[in-house]
């Protein structure tokens, strides 16, 4: 402001000196900056003007000279600082050269305005952050109840079951019961497959011709229907077993026709 408009230029020289000192200080702890925008904000502050009135052109020059100095001092700058330098060089050329109406894209002024906006916004957020942290804080300035009382939710689970559920569960179990092999109470009316197989093997030698399966049932097992059913099933299963090992042949001429057996290899 005053410095920049000073007619004799001494203030400007003074300012430039200060800027140089500042930029040297910046170089020393370049690591302390959080990226190019942070650095730009710091440089902008050396202009000592409201960020809204910042000269973006001057800022671009400040930044570029900073990067140049870093190069001469062989300070390695991170890539994003160099990207920003390239962009600012481009911005500078746009700001200095007369506007080419043929060229599309945003104008230098638009780009400069946006950069100024970014700097102003970053600064604003930093101030806001400081104000936020300066507020009274829970556990530091004000406190919650130190001795909270038990206010839990007592959950009571009520199990729903009706007498119908109970009966159905029992019925299910009892039905399953009747299939359970452990509960074959009267085993005397059951011919096991082992017994049938034994018997079949001993009789097989006589089955030189096709003979009905019923002829192979044990004596006394053909009259009682329960016994006959069990003996028939067991003998049939035994016959299939013997067919499988190749010592017997089996045939049935039609559905429900008699099942006939004979010894194989005759």
């Amino acid at each position: 402001m005053v410095e920049q408009t000073s007619p004799d230029g001494t203030d400007a020289v003074l300012d430039a000196t200060q800027a140089r000192i500042a930029s040297e200080a910046l170089l020393i702890d370049v690591d302390g900056y959080e990226g190019p925008l942070d650095l730009l904000l710091t440089l902008a502050r050396t202009q000592k003007v409201d960020l809204r009135k910042i000269s973006v052109l001057a800022l671009a020059e400040q930044y570029l000279s900073f990067v140049d100095r870093a190069k001469t001092l062989r300070i390695e700058l991170a890539a994003d600082y160099l990207v920003m330098a390239a962009w600012l060089a481009f911005l500078k050329s746009r700001l200095l050269l007369p506007v080419d109406p043929q060229e599309d894209g945003p104008s230098g002024e638009e780009l400069a305005a946006h950069l100024a906006f970014q700097l102003e916004r970053l600064e604003a957020m930093r101030r806001a952050a400081a104000k936020l942290m300066a507020r009274d804080q829970l556990g530091r300035d004000f406190f919650a109840r130190g001795l909270p009382e038990d206010t839990g939710v007592k959950k009571t689970v009520v199990y729903k079951a009706t007498v119908l559920d109970l009966m159905q569960a029992y019925a299910r179990l009892k039905t399953k019961d009747s299939f359970a092999p452990l509960h074959y109470a009267e085993r005397d009316s059951v011919l096991t497959m082992e017994q049938a197989l034994e018997r079949m093997k001993s009789l097989m030698g006589h089955a030189l011709e096709w003979s009905d399966l019923s002829q192979f049932l044990p004596d006394g097992w053909s009259d009682d229907p329960k016994k006959r059913r069990s003996a028939t099933a067991a003998s049939f299963a035994a016959a299939l077993e013997l067919v499988k090992n190749g010592s017997l042949e089996i045939r049935q001429s039609d559905t429900f026709a008699p099942i006939e057996l004979r010894k194989k290899g005759i």
Binding site: F143, A144, R145, G146, L147, E149, D150, T151, G152, V153, K154, K155, T156, V157, V158, Y159, K160, A161, T162, V163, L164, D165, L166, M167, Q168, A169, Y170, A171, R172, L173, K174, T175, K176, D177, S178, F179, A180, L182, Y184, A185, E186, V190, K226, R229, S230
Partner: protein, 218 residues
């Protein structure tokens, strides 16, 4: 300070600042007792308060202020603390009732106990064909639907389970003997022929199958 006032030579630190007004002392103690996590003795409060404070007086006033409120200033031994009023305790514990269906294992175990009581765990396992977890028994005990009966007079003297009055009340039964038998269940169409999930797949195309089997093996 006028010199005609016969002031006692006070301790320097004490005289540097005047004690805050009583209303402010009350506020301070209110905040201290609210924020601390243990009841505070008079001495503990005094140590936090500005010099010259009349803690006893401030507590008396504060206690009166909270008299009849939802929160009271109570004496705990030699110390002071805020406590919610005893008559409002019911607001603190919120009851939440959740209805759940009994697990299959639980309902089956319960059914066996109801139909066969007194019954041992081994017997339940034999009927169900699978072992019964302690969790299931525990849950039924907790629900107060089953309890221990007399020990069986067999080797090992195993405990038996029987159903409780709570069980009978819940299921609306006068007596466990009132439970309908299998035949009645079947007659009433309650006997589900579909195999239970996870059980052996029994061909379901034959509704008479169960009887046939009974026929065959009975």
């Amino acid at each position: 300070m006028s010199d005609d006032k016969p002031e006692q030579p006070a301790n320097i630190t004490e005289s540097l600042f005047e004690a805050p007004p009583m209303a402010e002392q009350e506020r301070m103690i209110e905040a201290i007792l609210f924020a601390t996590n243990t009841p505070q003795t008079k001495l503990q409060i005094e140590n936090r308060m500005p010099h010259g404070s009349d803690v006893a007086e401030a507590i008396t006033r504060l206690r009166k202020r909270y008299d009849g409120r939802g929160v009271n200033l109570v004496r705990v031994g030699e110390a002071w603390a805020f406590r919610t009023a005893a008559d409002l305790g019911f607001l603190m514990q919120k009851e939440q009732v959740e209805t759940r269906k009994l697990s299959r294992a639980a309902i089956e175990t319960l059914a066996i106990i109801a139909y066969h009581q007194p019954v041992t765990r081994a017997e339940i396992e034999e009927i169900r064909g699978v072992s019964v977890s302690s969790g299931t028994i525990d849950m039924l005990m907790e629900l107060d639907w089953i309890k221990l009966g007399r020990r069986r007079m067999t080797p090992g003297r195993p405990v038996t389970f029987i159903v409780t009055q709570v069980f009978l009340d819940h299921f609306g039964l006068e007596n466990a003997r009132d439970l309908p038998g299998v035949k009645e269940l079947r007659d009433a169409g309650l006997l589900d022929n579909r195999p239970p999930p996870g059980a052996l797949q029994i061909p379901s195309d034959d509704p008479d199958r169960a009887e046939e089997q009974d026929d065959m093996f009975g």
